[in-house]
């Protein structure tokens, strides 16, 4: 039987703060299959960031098992985790997290350089990724010369450039206005339609509605896990008033 892309079994995460310890995740079980588009919701402190860090191989579970694309993450060393982050995962953050004073192309090239792809080829692939997110005309722009939506597109291109198995997005629309949010979700839905697996952490119900499945966390436990409306973001975008020239 072929396993799921993401297999989380009885994962707990305990943080020690001085004498006391905080239970951020309590025995979480989760399966995410190839091609899914999952929204992870929950109030702050519900453990969704901790779950995201563990899914992103930035953190390890205190107890329990986590298999990502067949690899038992808890047994891997630091270098192997870095390789997973590079090859299997793509990250999109709320604050974009682009390198300042570095052009869009250079930002997107970076993961490929860590994968030891020759610079010339890396640049070509970066340009392709930027075209894919609709930024073919912003290649040499630096982050401070771009709007928030454009910066987030660069971040998405950076996440996509290594052809990962899953993209993890942590509040990707948190810093964007409502129109740009819908634009961003259109892009995510397009990517999902092309087969990309997406896990999106959000606290916005609207954003979650664009996904195919909604996972709600509370106090470190999964409160609910059910299919979402999967509203078409493109249709919503069409209904919005035309963009003013800015």
């Amino acid at each position: 039987m072929a396993g799921s892309l993401i297999e989380v079994d009885g994962v707990s995460r305990v943080f020690s703060v001085g004498e006391s310890s905080v239970l951020a995740l309590r025995h979480v079980d989760l399966r995410v299959d190839e091609g899914e588009m999952v929204a992870v919701m929950g109030a702050s402190g519900s453990g969704k960031s901790t779950l995201m860090n563990i899914l992103g191989c930035l953190d390890r579970p205190t107890t329990g098992r986590y298999r990502l694309a067949g690899a038992a993450v808890e047994t891997l060393d630091d270098d192997a985790l870095a390789e997973l982050r590079n090859h299997v995962l793509g990250f999109v953050f709320q604050g974009f997290n682009l390198l300042p004073r570095t052009t869009a192309v250079e930002n997107v090239t970076l993961p490929l350089l860590y994968a030891h792809i020759p610079p010339r080829e890396a640049r070509q692939r970066a340009i392709q990724a930027l075209r894919r997110v609709g930024l073919g005309d912003r290649l040499e722009h630096q982050p401070n010369e771009m709007s928030g939506g454009q910066q987030q597109r660069v971040a998405i291109a950076r996440a996509l450039v290594t052809s990962p198995r899953v993209v993890l997005a942590d509040e990707p629309t948190g810093n964007l206005d409502s129109r740009t949010t819908v634009e961003m979700m259109t892009l995510f839905q397009d990517l999902n339609d092309q087969g990309m697996t997406l896990v999106i952490v959000t606290h916005e119900v609207d954003v979650a509605a664009y996904c195919r499945r909604i996972l709600t966390l509370r106090d470190g436990r999964i409160l609910s896990d059910h299919p979402a409306a999967h509203v078409s973001a493109r249709d919503d975008l069409a209904r919005l008033p035309a963009e003013e020239d800015t």
Binding site: D78, A82, E83, N86, H87, N97, R101, L110, P111, L113
Partner: protein, 405 residues
């Protein structure tokens, strides 16, 4: 990530913050510049001393009256003076690796003439003395073999003596009196300056040894024999030969110690060289310390850079950088910074050396090896002092780093 990409990245980071980069490398620039200057000065001083040693004479060998030792009690140098003019003649006749030999007879006498009187060592020498010591007349002429053989009362004045007795006038053709004996001044010697140990070589009067022996010293024994080896390479051979011949001349049996000493200039120069070496070492150490301080400056800035760029480190880790990629990135940045500092420092060192050379008159040349050494050393300093900050960066927890504001 490939090294070239890392270097390019490091240069990019530098260019984004030019002023800070410039101030950071300033310490290394000054350190390297002083190292380069100090080495150049040291080498300059050494070649200056070598020139002074060469100035003493051409492949010169000195035979001096040695110590006598009777019943195990040494009488000290010169305690048993048996050097004679005959020894010098024997050396000149028999030695194959020696081209010229002169006896040197020392005496002290008041010199009266010109402006008044003066007191200087008077040396009785053969005509070939001038060849051995590579000494020429600044005015007038040297005395000849003929004049030595015929015991003529002629003298050559050292520059200092001439200056004192005839401050405004060329003394050639004048007369002086040495212990009431009249001598003709036939020439003034070219100024030779001080020896490495600081004695004035120009404070001297030279006369034919035959004349000095009969008219002034009245002694049979002489203080020194000077000789020239055929070539620089022949000096060790000439030393050995001189010793053998001297033993022969003195009819010493195999069980008897030498009653003379044979030395060459390398021995004379050794002390002077040792002093220069110590000075050079001292100066270089100080310069090295300033390079070290420059390195600490780099470490300081690298630590600031690491904490400033914590978030960047988090991002890089999240997109797949391993700890060692981060470590390498910051070490390379540090090495690039200090390497550029080293290059600038070398350039500054060239200028500094030229200035010092002009002031001291020493040949302060910057050897190519020095440049390599300076740049290489500064890069090593960068790697050494960059390692700790880089390691701190590589050990940052990616989650904490990403949250860092």
């Amino acid at each position: 990530m490939k090294l070239l990409a890392l270097v390019r990245m490091a240069l990019g980071t530098m260019l984004r913050n030019k002023v800070r980069a410039a101030l950071t490398v300033l310490g290394v620039v000054i350190g390297v510049a002083s190292v380069v200057v100090m080495i150049a000065v040291g080498l300059g001083a050494r070649s200056d001393i070598e020139a002074k040693v060469e100035n003493l004479g051409v492949h010169m060998i000195v035979v001096s009256a040695g110590s006598s030792s009777r019943g195990g009690v040494s009488g000290g140098a010169g305690s048993f003076n048996r050097l004679t003019v005959d020894d010098a003649a024997f050396l000149a006749k028999e030695a194959e690796s020696i081209t010229a030999v002169t006896p040197v007879i020392f005496t002290m006498a008041p010199i009266v003439g010109g402006a008044g009187n003066w007191r200087a060592p008077i040396q009785g020498v053969d005509a070939c003395y001038f060849t051995i010591r590579a000494w020429e007349a600044a005015s007038g002429r040297l005395f000849t073999d003929e004049e030595v053989r015929t015991r003529r009362k002629v003298v050559l004045l050292g520059h200092t003596v001439a200056e004192n007795l005839w401050p405004d006038q060329d003394p050639v053709g004048q007369r002086i009196r040495l212990r009431n004996v009249q001598f003709d001044v036939v020439g003034v010697l070219a100024a030779k300056g001080q020896t490495a140990d600081g004695s004035d070589q120009d404070d001297v009067v030279l006369a034919p040894y035959t004349t000095v022996q009969t008219r002034l010293a009245g002694r049979q024994f002489i203080a020194q024999i000077l000789a020239s080896a055929a070539s620089k390479e022949a000096v060790p051979e000439a030393l050995a030969e001189a010793r053998t011949l001297m033993r022969e001349s003195h009819r010493l049996s195999a069980s008897e110690d030498d009653d003379f000493t044979v030395r060459d200039q390398t021995q004379m120069a050794a002390t002077a060289k040792a002093t220069t070496n110590t000075m050079t070492l001292l100066l270089s150490t100080i310069a090295g310390i300033s390079l070290l301080v420059g390195g600490i400056g780099i470490m300081n800035i690298m630590l600031v850079l690491v904490s400033e760029r914590t978030r960047e480190i988090g991002i890089r880790r999240a997109i797949g950088a391993r700890r060692r990629d981060i470590l390498l990135q910051f070490v390379v940045e540090s090495v690039v910074l200090s390497g550029i500092g080293g290059l600038l420092g070398t350039v500054l060192g060239f200028v500094g050396s030229a200035v010092v050379g002009r002031i001291t008159g020493w040949a302060t040349e910057v050897a190519p090896a020095t440049v390599l050494l300076a740049v290489g050393f500064s890069m090593a300093v960068g790697a050494f002092f960059g390692f700790y900050p880089a390691r701190r960066a590589s050990l940052l927890d990616p989650i904490d780093a990403l949250r860092h504001e």
